[in-house]
Symmetry: C2
Amino acid sequence: MEDIVSLKNQQVKRWRKLRSRKGRETYRTYIVEGFHLVEEALNTTTVEICCIMGSEKALALLGKVDHLCPIYHLTAEIVAELSETQTSQEIFAEVRMPQLEENLKLKGPYLLLDAVQDPGNVGTLIRTAAACGFEGVVLGKGTADAYNSKTLRSAQGSHFHIHLVSGDLKQLIQKMQHENISIYGTALHQKAIEYKDVSPQEVFGLVVGNEGAGVSNDILQAVDASLYIPIRGGAESLNVSIAAAILMYHLYDPQ
Amino acid sequence: MEDIVSLKNQQVKRWRKLRSRKGRETYRTYIVEGFHLVEEALNTTTVEICCIMGSEKALALLGKVDHLCPIYHLTAEIVAELSETQTSQEIFAEVRMPQLEENLKLKGPYLLLDAVQDPGNVGTLIRTAAACGFEGVVLGKGTADAYNSKTLRSAQGSHFHIHLVSGDLKQLIQKMQHENISIYGTALHQKAIEYKDVSPQEVFGLVVGNEGAGVSNDILQAVDASLYIPIRGGAESLNVSIAAAILMYHLYDPQ
């Protein structure tokens, strides 16, 4: 265990840069905060942990770490500098982003996010897709960063259990369609199909869209069919994470 | 239109009291903030509006109000005092809570909330239940207040389109079962039934529980059956609003 006592320490400077998307994309790492996420990272064999850091008390609470990564003991001042929560649990891990894969496997369903802006929604969508057994989530242009601290918090550790990629949705849709995989959009317009009229299946793509504007028109034109969820009783709409959950759990039949 | 310029005005004092649950229960009214909620209240014939209030600019933007309620023009200081949002739209309505009904109609499905603590979850649950066409939501002991400003914001005006009641869940479950209405709990235990094995139906009760503890044991013992949603791929759980949405949309068949 190494003590870090200065805010000017090189590691601290680096961790501070990981707060921004640009910094995370430069180093290809991100920071998770809190016992739940740190323990989940430690317990997932496919996750590469660069280091663990925290206050003396928090490191003691975490207990023995069976992991060959450096452990840093931080001062209260540095903990406060790194924390992005209101009441910090004073424990962090720096985690390596998974390698970008050139070719998606396409052996299970994918959730495609078209400009979903709210990090809380993106986190919940990742969490639900992982729980439903989806193979991956593709974050299209304009979507909140998967490694934003708010996204990480609302995903509750699901980042470690599902394939996450950033990509051009139109290209991916073409590629999937080329492999005879159906892609479903979500829409409110008249030509859309009520989702329960589509049979559950094993491999498909489902696109959900921006909180205000929905799925963009050029993507709706590219999909095989658009689905809608009936809205009854005078209500106006469903939250995007809710709508996606209803569709994912209806459409996916893992055989 | 009446101008209110002093923070010590009796109306302002009263509105300030409506910030707390105790105040709202004393006056049986609550405040909605922002154009969307105020307009939704104005457009819903069953909603009784006590008054509209806002800054000069916001009242001008709202336009002519076809409603026989007083309209108050507030100073910036009073607007700041009343607002519960980070960037206020400077428009409010005081709305009367619906009368407590002694007897629920029980002609459609009800969502029962057992100690759901987070106001954002309670709001999303109300919004989803309304969209799904549920007849009502019953807020059991320990559940966040339906008229909390955060609940109102995440429900997006659905309060006006669904029957909301606070009540003792065990008594209500007994009453519903006495009328041969099935009540479903949600659980992760082995005796639970996979939700897709239950056929869609027209009238039923669905109980969802606390974010950490789930549905309490004494309620699980009273329900007709407990349902579970399969969690795959290493994920741990679903958010309560997400789980409830999947179950509501699967279970309800409006005929």
